[in-house]
Amino acid sequence: MLEIQQVSFAYPGHAPALKNVSLSIQAGEFIGLAGRNGSGKTTLTRLMVGLGKPASGQVMLDGKPAKDGGPAVMARSVGYVFQNPDRQIFRDTVASEVAYGPEQMDWSDDERQAAVDDALAMTGLIEVAQAYPRGLARSFRQRIAIASALALKPRLLILDEPTSGQDAEEKKQLMQLLGKLNGQGIGVILVTHDMEMLLEHTRRTVVLHQGEKVYDGPTQELFADPAHDVAAWGLRVPDVAAIAAKFAKITGAVRSVEELAASINNQLGGKTDEKSGASV
């Protein structure tokens, strides 16, 4: 649905932030976007939603140049959740904040209300619909930002480091929400520094390094193939992937501690561990 074709971009007075990047995103994918701070991740995602124009190359949405429609048209298909949710929250109640996008659309009142209600329900915010957004915990504010994007019924949701500053439980809940949305057919692009999360939740990962695309393929292969110099790209091989790579013959492809433990326990003699919840 979204095609990035040989896109280059530079901020005035700085070295190119993106160099000749091409990327094809199909409907319903769950993609990780990784790389060092400053590698071009945020620049690329901003171009995907029309917040900026490439110096060369183009962004195509459903086969048509995105620049023809501009950000307003892009926003109907591609939702964007900023790293800091507070930068996009400005209204007095959760419901009115989520309603802002639909109010800009040429929808009927019923359609608008339905869009807001659906978005609040999908993100578990119905109980706080009348609360003051800035008085809620950060994990709630994050969900408000996601709900605001969902209210426009996007087919692709881009989240820029959504788990930074969130605790382990909040991360888990956020990833469950994104998994659920993806299960409903909404594509997800997750910009993240969290390698465990990348391994466990994404099927495909794109790595940027100094503005160039250096990897685009299955997430497990990114970490499993020693030919990929992930350290040079500023990434880290998750411990689960590092151990699984050594025992690949007995573990097969695993994505999480629970899967790894289950496959090793099979070889060690097996056990059922209540503490970790591993099913073996």
């Binding site: 790389g35 701070n37 930074s164 500053g165 465990e196 500023g234 070889q267 561990d273 970790s276």
Partner: protein, 288 residues
């Protein structure tokens, strides 16, 4: 000897009424302590109580006391405490005030009326410690996030604190930047004997470096002890268990009454021990 002691310390913010309840906690001199807990559990308040900002700056109600270097924090002004406790806030950019790297590190020393010759010496030492030598004249706006983070550390190091407190220092850093910061903290801890206290969500990063851990839950200390002791209790009692690093969750999942492993701090250690436990026919040749 303890660098910081909380003695039945309770504190409540004036507006929300949240804070800390009956915290009794000792942080030994020269230790490297990681503070864990869900958001809202009291980590930041604990950090601010060590620096005197709680209650001096925020007001509120309190009982019990906090001693830093054996002195009660409420008996001293924050500026006095700050000479011994360096604090890097979660929003570290908000504590950077100068135009250039040199001026930023010199700022606190200038306020302490340190001689210009000594300021130059201390700034050079602090920048060398964080790997920013050569960037003295660089404007802060031209620094990366990781460089700004290290500059914030250098700025507090210049005052030669005996205790360094960092609140979620890696939340904005990439994996490489996080590892560099933890290596720097470990070096300061081992070579200079600085007591390091870090509040963080990503406990895997702290695993190779920290020797003590405190888990906060709803304003109280849930567990404290060595990392092994605390991880074990987090898993056994299912308190914030999802935050236990992957290596330790794996270890717990593989151990039985008769099969025990040592506390792994790296994937290589885990691979070696798991391999040794496998039936001989299935073992790997790890040199390959």
């Amino acid at each position: 000897m303890d660098a910081v002691q909380f003695e039945d310390f309770s504190y409540h913010y004036p507006k929300t009424g949240t804070g800390l309840d009956q915290v009794t906690l000792s942080i030994p001199v020269g230790s490297f302590t990681v503070l864990a807990g869900a958001n809202g559990s009291g980590k930041t308040t604990l950090c601010m109580a060590m620096t005197g900002l709680v209650p001096h700056f925020f007001g509120g109600s309190m009982s019990g006391q906090v001693r830093v270097a054996r002195q009660v924090t409420t008996d001293r002004p924050v500026s006095d405490i700050a000479a011994g406790v360096g604090f890097v806030m979660e929003d570290y950019e908000s504590q950077l005030v100068a135009l250039t790297v040199f001026d930023e590190v010199a700022f606190a020393l200038e306020n302490m009326a340190v001689s210009s010759a000594l300021i130059r010496e201390r700034v050079a030492e602090a920048l060398a410690a964080v790997g920013l030598t050569g960037l003295e004249e660089r404007e802060l706006s031209a620094l990366s996030g990781g460089q700004k983070q290290r500059l914030a550390v250098a700025s507090v190091l210049a005052s030669q604190p005996k205790i360094l407190v960092l609140d979620e220092p890696t939340s904005a850093l990439d994996p490489e930047g996080s590892e560099e910061l933890y290596s720097l903290l470990a070096q300061l801890n081992k070579e200079k004997g600085i007591t390091v206290i870090v509040a963080d969500h990503d406990l895997a990063q702290a695993l190779p470096h920290a020797d003590r851990m405190v888990v906060m839950e709803a304003g109280r200390v849930a567990f404290t002890g060595t990392l092994d002791e605390v991880f074990d209790r987090m898993l056994t009692e299912q308190v914030y268990a999802s935050a236990v690093p992957a290596l330790r969750r794996l270890k717990a999942a593989l151990e039985t009454e008769t099969r025990k492993f040592s506390p792994w701090t790296s994937a290589d250690e885990a691979v070696a021990e798991i391999n040794a436990s496998l039936p001989p026919m299935r073992r790997l040749s790890l040199s390959a």
